[in-house]
Each structure stands twice: as C-alpha cells, then as structure tokens.
C-alpha cells in the first residue's frame, strides 16, 4: 500500500468524532500553524508543496492563494467547494462523511493562512446527511476551542458555516457557487473580476475543493517540501480517485500520483481488474467531462509509453490521444457498455445542468442531446455525426464558464475514438437498438 495522507486513519472506528480524530493526531496542524507560524508561512508551505486544485482544473493551490487581494478593512473569505456533482466523482462525499474533522482542520489552517474570519463549506444539497455530520463536527471542534473566538488563546477568530446547495451541477463552478451562496441563481459570473479580487459579497475570496483543503493539515505538519517529494513531476502528493463502472472493486482510493493506469485498474490493491468474463473497452479518467479514451490509449500513450495516473501523463497527447486527470472520477466501461448511449447520457446531463445564461451552451447542449437521442433510438443518419462534432466545436471555448467545454468534450472525444460505433448506430439501427446489443470492434479490447 502506498502512502496515505488523507485516508490513513479512515478505517479507525469512531474517526468521525472529535475525540478519536484528535487521538490520531488530529488538529495538531491547527496548533502548529496558529501558535508557531505566521499566516504567510502557511501560504509559503502550501506553495512549496505544489499541491494542485483537486476539483478538476488542477490549478496550483498556493498560486491561487497568493493572488488573493488584501485591501485594508475589507473582509476576506475562504469558501470550500463541496458541490461535487461531476458524474463519476464521489470522493468529497466519501471524505466528508467519513472523516469530517479533516476538512474542518484544513479549513481552520487555510482560513488562518488567508486571514479569513468567516469561512463557508458549500455542500451540494443532496448530501443533507453529510451537512448534518459536518455541523456536528463543527460543534465538537468549537466546544474543544478550535473554532470560535480566540482559538487556542492565539487571538485568531473563525466561524465556519456549512451552506447547502439546492441541486445544480453548475454551482461547482466557483463563481456560480458564490452566486448561489449569496442566495441567487447559480449563474456563473463574467470574469474578470476574479474571485481573488471580487468574490463573495464583493470581497476577495478563495474557493478551494474539499480534497485540496483536506491536504493542508498534512502540509502544515510535514512541510511543503515533504509533500512535494511525493508523487511525480508537477503532480505532487496523493489524489483521491473515485472509481466506478465495471470493475471488481469500485470505491474511493487514495493513490500516490504516478501509479501506472494499468496497475490501478488491474492490481488487487486497487480496482482488481474488470469484472469476470469481461474486457476493458473504455475509460473516462477524470469525471464525465474529460475525453473518453479507448482501452489501448488509456493504458499506453500514443508513443507506447505506460500511461500514469498523473496530471501530465493523462493529458499526454492532448485531446487527440490523451485526456485529463480532472476531478479523478474514473469510470471504467467494459465491452457491454455502449459508448453512443453513454455519450447521450452525458449529453443529457449537461443539457439538464446548463444554467441557460449564454446562448452556445443553453441551445447547443439541448441540440446535441436531441441528436444523440435520435441516434441511440435508431433514427440517426450519417450527417448527424459530423453535425455533432461541429456543434460541439462551436460551443467549446465560446461560453462564459467551462460547462460549455465540459459538454462538448465527451461528445467530441467519443466520436473521435468510437466513430465506427456511431456509424454502426446510424447504418444498422435495427441491430444497434436491439436490447443487449453489443458493438465489438476487436482493436479496442484489452
């Protein structure tokens, strides 16, 4: 088993309680940071660690922190993004429900570093039971003197507020999240200004993913350099991977970045391979929005090198032959899964979740869904395939927020890598729409 930063104590009975968490070294980072370190020193360690945003974009967290504007007399806010809604991703859900104090400890340390005195954890509304777990944990931490006024006698004050969402994927986009937190529709904002300058309540704000923040206690305790020593290249540290689909052991895994994809899928330590009697057909490696890759390209890059679970290796080859680590939502599909049907499903998702503010996304996502629905139900024609590619291209990059890209990529990549399957649907609709029909080109099976 590799090194565990976030999940080392996850199996300890009662770890969701303050007492047990504390017994296993919990809240030592708060003591160290608040008593022995200046806020800027904490920022420095996080910068040194090279930890990248775990929500999907992979932007270096320390750099994001250093952009935070610090005008006199204006409050600053830290907002934790727990709106996890990207299909295939459930790591934050898992982390928050099993070890809530880790996030709270991270929130205290991070808020201290950024000079925030009121911080928010925005959790998607569907996870109301997790919100209750977090609220209980916050009450425990407060009772123990780790939250509230004059924490540990250091003079530092912090209030934590858990905010429920209301059912909207788009609120995972940071500016939509801030709008939602202000009690508005989750419409992403035009940027600039960026949240670091004008975020929540028009004040400088940092928005970080749950997993990103959960890394900070370890970084404070062990130093940024120690964190940077883990992993490979610019992919430092460990990453939670949410594994789903047709594998023997789906679930959340903490991996050291750089594990070979093949090992991750087939080793018993991780996913244990594809379910018996079936074969790997395709993988969506970083949540539904990243390009889908056929088996041969997920295991090896186009150059024949082993593909690794890291930001750089997964994106090797660009979108032509590569994908992205994204949020780490690793969806594995065997040969029984219809890529066309799955693309329609994802398309329906993005159509459903588009906020409707800007025209390419509002109109384009619905259009793609309708065309794909026709194809899936045997009413497609050859023209539709190129039409889809073109519509996707016209959405991509032309929208206010990345949801447009997220909607375009799965369609573009599925047609890029599985065009023959799309053609099969439009040329042999009776065959393709039969229940249990499986399209099986030999070259993509491993």
């Amino acid at each position: 088993m590799g090194l565990k930063i976030l999940t080392e104590h996850i199996d300890k009975p009662g770890i969701e309680t303050f007492e047990v968490y504390r017994k296993h070294g919990g809240y030592t980072a708060v003591e160290k940071a608040l008593k022995k370190m200046a806020p800027d020193e904490v920022v420095e360690e996080v910068k040194k660690s090279g930890v990248r945003g775990r929500g999907g974009a992979g932007f270096p967290m320390g750099m994001k922190w250093s952009f935070l504007a610090k005008p006199e007399g204006v409050p600053r806010y830290l907002v934790c993004n727990g709106d996890e809604s990207e299909p295939g991703t459930f790591k934050d859900h898992f982390l928050m429900k099993t070890i809530p104090h880790l996030l709270i400890e991270g929130m205290i340390v991070s808020s201290y570093a950024l000079g925030a005195h009121k911080s928010f954890i925005y959790v998607r509304g569907e996870l109301m039971y997790v919100i209750r777990i977090l609220e209980k944990a916050i009450a425990e931490a407060k009772a123990a003197g780790f939250l509230g006024k004059n924490i540990l006698g250091t003079g530092y004050d912090l209030e934590l507020v858990v905010q429920p969402g209301g059912g909207a994927y788009i609120c995972g986009e940071e500016t939509a999240l801030l709008e939602s937190l202000e009690g508005k529709r989750g419409n992403p904002r035009n940027k600039p200004p960026f949240p670091a300058v004008k975020g929540l309540y028009e004040s400088p704000t940092v928005v970080n993913n749950v997993e990103s923040i959960a890394n900070t206690p370890w970084i404070v305790n062990n130093g940024g350099d120690a964190y940077a020593a883990i992993g490979i290249g610019r992919s430092t540290g460990t990453k939670l991977i949410s594994a789903s689909g047709n594998v023997k052991n789906p679930g959340v895994y903490e991996i050291v970045l750089g594990v070979p994809v093949e090992e991750f899928i087939y080793s018993d330590e991780y996913l244990g391979g594809i379910r018996d009697g079936h074969y790997l057909k395709a993988v969506v490696a970083g949540g539904s929005s990243v390009p889908i890759l056929p088996a041969h390209l997920i295991l090896k890059t186009a150059n024949g090198e082993n593909r690794l679970m890291s930001y750089e290796s997964l994106s090797d080859g660009g979108f032509a032959t590569g994908t992205m680590l994204g949020s780490g939502g690793f969806i594995v599909m065997d040969e029984t899964v219809s890529v066309v049907r799955n693309t329609w499903n994802f398309s329906r998702f993005y159509h459903h979740e588009s906020c409707g503010q800007c025209s390419p996304c509002r109109e384009g996502t619905g259009w793609m869904e309708k065309v794909l629905e026709r194809i899936v139900h045997g009413h497609g024609n050859e023209r539709d395939i190129d039409l889809l590619v073109d519509v996707a291209k016209r959405i991509e990059g032309n929208t206010i927020c990345p949801l447009g890209d997220a909607a375009a990529w799965p369609v573009g990549s599925a047609i890029r890598h599985f065009r023959d399957e799309f053609e099969w649907y439009v040329r042999h609709p009776e065959e393709a729409t039969k229940k249990g029909a499986v399209y099986m080109p030999q070259n993509v099976l491993v």
Binding site: N190, G356, Q357, C358, R362, G366, V371, R394, N398
Partner: protein, 362 residues
C-alpha cells in the same frame, strides 16, 4: 488635473484612442458601425448587462503592448477591457466569423421565425444579427421548445418563444423601476421570463422592457398588429412630463400616432427611459411638441421600406464570407481553358470595345 492617459487599441486594422477601462466593444463603436461587434444582450445604459449572448465574440491577437501574447479563446468584447496596444480582430477573423455564425444558429434553433406576424420585425436585432452574420439555412431538425403566450399587464405581452434570454428586461426592472415582479425562472433551455404567479407588471416605467427587448418577446399590446414598422414614420417629439424626460419618438401611420417609444441611439439603446403615461396614454399629436422627423439610417429597413441588400451595413463581411466559402477558379478545368481562348479571340475583343464605348457614352 491631467487628462487621463489614453490607450491605443487596434480593431480590424483601425486604431482608436480611448480612456483606460473602456471595453473592446465600446472602443470599436467609437471607430464606427463597420467594426462594431453586434450585441444582443449588452446594453450600455443597463449596469451588469452583457457577456451572455456571445454575439460580440472577438479575437484578441495581441493582449497589450506589455504582454503581446494573444488571448487563447475568443472573448466577449462587451465585457473585456481594452489594454494599451491591444490588437483585435473582428470581421477580419475567420474564427470569429465562424463562432458568430454559430451564435446565430444557436439563437435561431428554438426561435419560432414568425417574423411575418411579429410586431418587432423591421427593428428586430435578431433579424439584423442573423441577416448579417448567419446562413440562410438551418441544420436543426429537432422539435422547437415552445411556451404559452403570457400577458404581463394589460399593455405588455410576453411571447416567450421569441425570447433569447438577454436578461435586459430583468436589469431594466431592477434599475429603472422600483419593484421587480418578473424574472428568469427555471434554467437551461427551459429558462423563461415570467412572473411565476401570473401577475401584472404594474409600474410607471414597466413599458421600457418593450424598448430594451432586442426581439419580439416583449411587445406593446396597444400597437399589436397596427402596422409593419417600415410603413410607419417616426417623428421626434417631447412634452413636459413630471415623471420622465418626455423625449420620445412618435410613430405615425398617416395622421394617426400608432405607437410611442423612447428614443434610441445609433446602437439601438435607449438613454432616456420614458414613463408609461407618455408611452401608452399620449397618442394624440396635440399631446406633443413635434421636433421633426427622426433621423433614420439610410441602411435601415425603415428607410428602405423593406429588407434588401442595403440592410447589410457591413460590406466587408460579405467579402470576407465569400473569400472563405468560394474556392479560387481552377484554370486547368476545360471550360476555363475555353474561356481563356474565347477571351483571346478577336470577336471577343471587338465585343468588349463596343461595350466600353456604350458605357463611356452613358
């Protein structure tokens, strides 16, 4: 105090000097309509508008003098600030032309295209936008989304089918009236302008939502089916009004005032909003002091009395478009060879001379 330092921006090869903080779109408007990007949601008098329709996307090929790197994506010119030394491509960039073409297509796929029965036809920004930037055909074969017509008050009718969700009417209600009762409900392509509980928009300034609406989604019920826009004559007029500026356009059909609207500038924007009394209740010539005929651009449908080739304001666009869509003639093809031969023949030369003589006499 020193005058603020101006910054230099180049748009489609033409330079303009503007104060820092000016958006690319406003800088382009200072040069003139031939380089100004179209705007379907941006509305200068309304704070916070813009960024949504993506009609005004442009390519920034040089970020600024200091940082000459190009911007990786097309940017919405209405909300992107110009920088000193910035170079922008608008109608001269094929990527922009293509993206804009896409925006037209997206805006039209769920639009009913009921222009023949729409009161807005002739002064509809979507018509102009599609005419200048779109294609004559559609690739959309799916069902269109439809909504029921809704009366929001006795003077305003909402045709949600035609709405392009520019949010202008929402900003207007927020910024011009004292209480907003309508808004955008639901989300995605189910979004609709509505009051949710079917109530009237009852406010002295509510009529302004009609003027800011770029399409025929919000129309004046007192003007409904009275005339086509291009058969009526606009006249500048004013009156002393205790609620608003009282400066309006009266729209005449014969001797009858069939409609009163606020005055719009060159970009179709109202700068002085008017009250409902002026708009709906003062429809006699005697109510007004007439200033004279409204200046209407010669290219406008209203001047031309119809849609025609004059309506295309941006001649450059047509050429650009043609250049991208037509392949150069391949001289190796046999009929071209024939043409070459014909052109060299004596008969042809004689014919040309004759033509030349004829036209030079005229």
């Amino acid at each position: 105090m020193d005058a603020p330092q101006l910054i230099k921006v180049t748009i489609d090869g033409r330079e303009v000097h503007v104060p820092p903080g000016t958006t690319i779109l406003e800088a382009a408007r200072q040069i003139g309509p031939e380089v100004a990007p179209p705007a379907m949601c941006y509305y200068k008098p309304l704070k916070g508008s813009g960024g949504k329709c993506r009609a005004c996307l442009v390519k920034v090929t040089q970020g600024s003098e200091k940082d000459p790197r190009p911007m990786p994506k097309l940017v919405a010119s209405c909300i992107t600030g110009a920088q000193d030394g910035m170079v922008v491509e608008n109608y001269t960039n094929p990527e922009v032309v293509n993206a804009r073409n896409g925006v037209v297509e997206f805006l039209l796929i769920n639009h009913p295209l009921d222009c023949p029965v729409c009161d807005q036809a002739g002064e509809c920004h979507l018509q102009d936008f599609a005419y200048e930037n779109g294609l004559a055909t559609t690739r959309y074969e799916e069902e269109r989304r439809t909504f029921d017509r809704e009366d929001i008050g006795d003077k305003i009718q909402l045709h949600m089918n035609r709405c392009i969700l520019c949010y202008r009417c929402v900003y207007t209600a927020n910024q011009i009236t004292d209480r907003r009762v309508h808004g955008v409900m639901y989300r995605g392509d189910h979004s609709e302008i509505s009051t949710y509980i079917h109530q009237a928009i009852d406010n002295d300034f509510s009529g302004n939502v009609i003027d800011v609406c770029p399409v025929g989604a919000l129309t004046d019920k007192t003007y409904r089916f009275k005339s086509r826009v291009w058969f009526s004559k606009p006249v500048d007029a004013h009156r002393d009004c205790d609620k608003c500026c009282g400066k309006v356009n009266l729209w005449y059909k014969g001797d009858e005032v069939i409609r009163v609207t606020a005055r719009k500038n060159q970009w179709g924007e109202v700068e002085d909003f008017i009250c409902n009394t002026c708009r709906f209740d003062k429809k006699q010539t005697a109510d007004w002091v007439i200033e004279g005929p409204t200046k209407v651009s010669r290219a406008s449908v209203i001047s031309a009395n119809k849609y025609g080739k004059n309506v295309i304001k941006k001649t450059g666009f047509g050429l650009e478009y043609a250049a991208h869509h037509y392949k150069p003639i391949d001289d190796t093809r046999p009929y071209d060879k024939n043409l070459k031969e014909i052109k060299q023949s004596e008969d042809y030369k004689a014919l040309m001379e004759k033509n030349e003589a004829f036209f030079s006499k005229k």
